[in-house]
Symmetry: C2
Subunit: 330 residues, 2 copies
């Protein structure tokens, strides 16, 4: 199996990306193609004593920044590491692609360059988030598509269910529909129509789910229009992060508090780790014809290695074929 890695994407590229790739290659026995500015990548490896001689290196002269406009940037920068990675994948030069770069551009490129699975209306951005009972759930769409139709939400559910079952090994993933209340009549037309479709989908649909129930892990998949999903994702992560920061501040406030912190350090670290979304590695793009995986923008080597592992499992579980089959039945 060959995984294509966008060596220039993310806050810590290329160093942490290269490191994570080397570790993943050693641990998982896969082939890696690094895509990025050849001189920069080689110098970075050399300066840090990293051996990349057993990886393929494909040159790409441009880099897409995280804040560049996703809709236009791939056309504007056809020789960017991301665009080149996408083309390599689409041309069969690898089995999957991982990037820690611009999420929007990854979604757009996934749709336009890698192309969609036959029958998929719109690929969705599908981050996997930790909940507070020791597991995780998939939220989609988290912003790939601002406007959503009921058929798109149904497809998100079908695709996410396949992923959570095959890759995350969750039996009959519980599908929840984002809504303002749990009763069937809640929400607007989009929710009413989607509710009907999900009820008759053969999926393990558990009904409407409210924002307040996400932390307790009531569902394995939270289906949502992309606008709301993006707001929910960032609120979820933002509140958890801010709260951990406050707890840390409290514990370093003075000598007494530091002593108290030392006493429970092990438990504190375990708690912080449970909330750490980096543990889950990132977000698959659901609906592209070949596996595309978005690693966290802030990913360091360990998180990026983890993202490569999930991508490998995305390939091995043959989720794409599962999705094709499931969609052709609808």
């Amino acid at each position: 199996m060959r995984i294509i890695v966008d060596a220039m994407g993310g806050d810590n590229a290329p160093l942490e990306i290269i490191k994570g790739s080397i570790e993943a290659k050693a641990e998982y026995g896969i082939d890696i193609t690094l895509v990025g500015d050849e001189a920069v990548v080689k110098k970075c490896a050399l300066d840090n004593g990293l051996d990349i001689s057993d990886m393929q290196l494909v040159h790409a002269s441009e880099v897409i920044a995280t804040d560049e406009d996703a809709d236009a940037v791939l056309k504007k920068k056809p020789d960017s590491s991301l665009a080149v990675s996408m083309r390599l994948l689409s041309e069969g030069e690898g089995d999957a692609l991982v990037s820690a770069g611009n999420s929007g551009a990854i979604c757009v490129g996934g749709t336009l360059i890698v192309k969609r699975i036959k029958g998929v209306k719109r690929p969705g951005f599908a981050p996997i988030l930790p909940h507070f009972e020791g597991g995780c759930f998939m939220l989609l769409d988290a912003g790939a598509n601002i406007d959503s139709r009921p058929e798109m939400l149904l497809q998100y559910a079908v695709m996410a269910s396949a992923y959570m079952e095959k890759v995350m090994k969750i039996d009959k993933p519980r599908i929840g529909l984002a809504n303002v209340g749990t009763e069937e009549h809640k929400g607007g037309e989009l929710q009413h129509k989607t509710f009907e479709l999900l009820k008759n989908s053969g999926l393990n649909f558990i009904g409407n789910v409210e924002g307040r129930d996400l932390p307790s892990g009531v569902c394995d998949v939270f289906v949502c229009d992309g606008f709301t999903g993006n707001l929910v994702l960032k609120t979820y992560e933002g509140v958890a992060k801010s709260m951990l920061k406050k707890v840390k501040e409290l514990f370093s406030k003075n000598a007494k508090n530091k002593l108290a912190a030392a006493m429970i350090m092990k438990d504190l670290k375990a708690m912080a780790k449970q909330f750490d979304y980096n543990e889950y590695g990132g977000a698959p793009i659901m609906g592209t014809a070949k596996p595309v995986f978005k690693a966290h923008g802030s990913a360091k080597a360990k998180t990026f290695k983890n993202a490569i592992r999930l991508t490998k499992e995305y390939v091995e579980a043959d989720v794409i074929t599962e999705i094709s089959k499931a969609l052709s039945k609808k």
Copy 2:
């Protein structure tokens, strides 16, 4: 000033509502009308040694539960404590209304019985939330209206700005528009049109705000369509609550952890208090012709007293006239 209190609304009615009303009356020198089942209210007061002889008591034979369908329930239960309270307010028998009952029914009753301020398209549900830097912000609409138009979002901003300035004493409240990114072009048609309206509104519009920035208090008002607002509100509260619960569990895990907790108890309590949305008392309904205030459903006496104080300030600051003036200028 006379404040009408729905004595039967909320998880802890009527006892905590009566207690909070007695405390508020003593502390703020206001007149109170309690609305509820006369026999139940009187017995509750008697059983608990509470003197309600100096408050007006208006009988209402029915009670609306929290989970009843908001759209139909006021017609179905015309003699409910909430419906009677709303009619009293609309007939001039009081200056404002506070209820800890069914949020949806309060919004519907506010619109249909209390009626709207002239020019207001749709009243909004506007909870005030603590952020993590020691202040608070207003989020609206949090679910009164599932579908929103740009003109409605503009009105929400105008009304919230008046409230935050007059009642919460924030100079030139910073208005943020809920969006999936901070750049002006982000979002869909609703966001683009609202952005234009807000830019030219004369309000202190600071642009688009993402979910992740809410905890750090980047804005005083977070303007949102009701569907997304409801999901964001409940995600925000849900994550904060779950996390506090986890911290508490950690500290009571064993003797060593309990000792550590005892060492920093004062700081821990201060932190929990900062995150406690009960401190802010609840949510005004913005756009009704007279002040209507929703106290938290779980409100106990202290929180309910606080809600009455905020309602009194809502009346005294004459926010309704401010809103009328501001809207007539548009």
